[in-house]
Amino acid sequence: MMTTVTTASRIPIDGPIETPWKLPYRGTVGMACLIIAESAIFIIFVVAYIYYIGKSLSGPTPAQVLELPIFGTICLLSSSIFVHFAVSNLRKDNLRGCTLNLAATVLLGTIFLATTAREWYHLIHDEGLTIKTNLFGTTYYSLVGLHATHVVVGLIMLSLTLGLSLTGHVKEEHSEKLEVLSLYWHFVDAVWVVVFLVVYVLGR
């Protein structure tokens, strides 16, 4: 390292200030950016799915094998409400309510993941549909799998938060941070609405 010369720094410290000077919370902005980037990824997979509907050269077709995952969808969408309650409880310093709502979110998310796993097991073992089988398999497993990956990531983060909350580490001052996590979870739910419509309604 070279020796640096000591210089005076000349910084204005007292200009006319627009009060109050308030900037957005960086966690929220960062998560919003991540959501935009992730949405772009999902759009590409959805476009590929829509583009390849009905282009498979061999069976099975979606109409033959897919069933509407109503139960899983209800679980996932309602978990979004619970994570919202968790944040608002934490903001009101109701730590117990926050923990309970977080637990409900994790539980419902896990149930959703289990329904997806059951569906995949059924498709692979009973129907013989894998990612290799045809274009439907290729696009179906990649799009639903990409969403499931996001559910897994969200569940890991929510479970960690739940663990911290059970051990009493989550306090009112963390409500802004929990809100960032809840934004991610809402995003995962919103993507599921699109996936549900494209794969199970439009695709059939």
């Binding site: 005076a8 410290i13 960086r26 935009i36 772009a40 274009l135």
Partner: protein, 560 residues
């Protein structure tokens, strides 16, 4: 308005204490300081610039004379693949992210980026991606089959990338390297946006922010919506190659055109990801060396934002010859023509800034003048290629190669070199040598025009790109020889630059904190800036805070 009191903070740099070298290395490896990460980005990008430049020279030697057998066709394919991939993902993006990393927090009066550890993560994952790409030279077909680098072109068109046509692992290395570099880019872009929106110092409203952070904001926005599709496409390609999926497998009903769409949805906005920072440097340097405030600040911001949006609807002008049909072609011709409007606004605003100014022809300004002219020419050939019938004639010819190198080298690299000379004193505390700088400028300028002006002609005469050699007597020989000589001039210029940077680090004259008499916040702190940037976070009341400080009798804030 009261005059602004000035804080005289004495800077106690820790760097003055001598420390064992291992500690210094450890400190750089674990740093989360935006300035050190920025510098590491720049150094790593310069290393890749030299590597990819060397690949370009090898290609030009191969093409300098007809029927040459200097390299084999396979090696030539690897050379243009590696040259393109390296220059875009491991030289262009990292070096611009590095500059942004260094400058954005300083210019908006922040002490660091919004997420310093994410920043370090983004850097290291990009660096790892670069190493992974070059590891393919020894590992692409297993460790014992050296020399098997990717050879599918930087566009990696399907079905060339399928297992059948591209066995071994070289394409997988390419895919993974590009994927990881995308992860790093998205992380950095996220960081830059958050820093700009959440870390501005008191009084720096968006309408007072310097244009460089503004353009980095737009550029990062494009990264989210352009690099993510590429990441998605890389996932699909990997699924195709490893799990037997059929996204781009035409034998199973998949579509090769879909890959082209996904690639160019990334590929064209990427040009603006690279060129917007170049505009950003011009926006900071041209006013300082014209001694005038930037002309038309709101118009510049509006033009940049509209470039950001329009750039997302032009990708298929890379696919006119793929058979999209008249409606598709017409739309993309029109969208591409429209983007020249905001770009024209920018050029006119730069000219209006220079107009009537007291122009100082220091090296940074010389590079900016070169940038202006060359960017104009690049834009003109761009408009030619945007016309579908003309494009049908010249698609995949050397005319196209000449056009995009005019943008990438003539505009972006020239602007970047100008930025090096402009901010080097801030980074190191020493000036770069003006004499060597002029040598660098003229060598590079002559080399650039020899190479890329003449490259248009064989393209018009019908020379396709990506061929490894050609027959004599088609009128391409002399032209290709001139192009090759130009490439050597450019390499010589770059060597002068690297020498200048190293020489000036030790022997350059002391710069002081504000050698150019500039007016943005980074010039208010010592050179090099201390690790916390600002002893006390500044407050600004106009677009040119240092001007206000230096000219209390006529501050900008009176006019806003």
């Amino acid at each position: 308005m009261t005059t602004t009191p000035v804080l005289e903070a004495v800077d106690e740099t820790l760097e003055t204490q001598s420390r064992p070298p291992l500690n210094v290395i450890y400190e750089w490896l674990t740093t989360v300081d935006h300035k050190k990460i920025g510098l590491m980005y720049i150094v790593y990008a310069l290393i890749f610039l030299v590597i990819a430049g060397f690949e370009a020279i090898l290609m030009r030697i191969q093409l300098a004379i007809p029927n040459n057998h200097f390299v084999s066709p396979q090696v030539f394919n690897q050379l243009f693949t590696m040259h393109g991939t390296t220059m875009v993902f491991f030289m262009g993006m990292p070096i611009l992210f590095g500059m942004g990393n260094y400058l954005v927090p300083l210019m908006i009066g922040a002490r660091d980026m919004a997420f310093p550890r994410l920043n370090a993560f983004s850097f290291w994952i990009s660096a790892f991606a670069g190493l992974l790409l070059y590891f393919s030279y020894i590992g692409g077909s297993g460790l014992y089959a050296a020399g098997s680098a990717p050879d599918v072109g930087w566009f990696a068109y399907a079905p060339l990338t399928s297992k059948v046509f591209s066995p071994g692992h070289s394409t997988d290395y390419w895919t993974l390297a590009v994927f990881l570099s995308g992860v790093g880019s998205i992380g950095t872009a996220l960081n830059i946006v958050t820093t700009i929106l959440c870390m501005r110092c008191k009084g720096m409203k968006m309408s007072r922010m310097p244009l460089l952070p503004w353009l980095y904001l737009v550029m990062s926005g494009i990264v989210f919506v352009a690099v993510s599709p590429l990441t998605a496409a890389q996932i699909m390609l990997t699924l195709d190659r490893y799990l037997g999926a059929h996204f781009f497998d035409t034998q199973a009903g998949g579509s090769a055109i879909l890959w082209m769409h996904f690639f160019w949805i990334f590929g064209h906005p990427e040009v603006y990801v690279l060129v917007l920072p170049a505009f950003a440097f011009a926006n900071e340097i041209i006013p300082v060396f014209s001694r005038k405030a930037m002309f038309g600040y709101p118009a510049m911001v509006a033009a940049s934002v509209s470039i950001g949006f329009i750039s997302l609807s032009v990708w298929a002008h890379h696919m006119f010859t793929a058979g999209l049909g008249p409606a598709g072609n017409t739309f993309f011709v029109f969208a591409t023509m429209v983007i020249s409007v905001p770009t024209g606004i920018k050029i006119f605003n730069w000219l209006a800034t220079i107009w009537g100014g007291k122009i100082i022809f220091a090296v940074p300004m010389m590079f900016m003048i070169g940038f202006l002219f060359q960017f104009l020419i690049a834009g003109l050939t761009g408009i030619m290629l945007a016309a579908a019938p003309f494009n049908w004639q010249l698609s995949a010819s050397y005319f196209v190669v000449a056009h995009f190198h005019y943008v990438l080298v003539g505009a972006i690299v020239f602007s970047l070199f100008g930025a090096f000379y402009f901010w080097y004193p801030k980074v190191t505390g020493r000036m770069m040598s003006e004499t060597l700088g002029k040598w660098h400028f003229w060598l590079f300028l002559i080399g650039f025009h020899l190479t890329f002006d003449f490259m248009h002609v064989p393209g018009i005469l019908g020379m396709p790109r990506r061929i490894y050699t050609y027959e004599a007597g088609r009128g391409w020989d002399t032209l290709n020889l001139i192009v090759g000589i130009g490439a050597i001039f450019q390499a010589a210029g770059t060597i002068v630059l690297v020498y200048n940077m190293i020489y000036s680090y030790f022997k350059g004259k002391e710069a002081g904190h504000d050698p150019w008499d500039a007016w943005t916040l980074e010039w208010s702190v010592p050179s090099p800036p201390p690790s916390y940037n600002f002893a006390i976070e500044p407050t600004v009341s106009s677009r040119r805070p240092l001007w206000d400080l230096k000219h209390p009798e006529d501050p900008d804030s009176d006019y806003e």
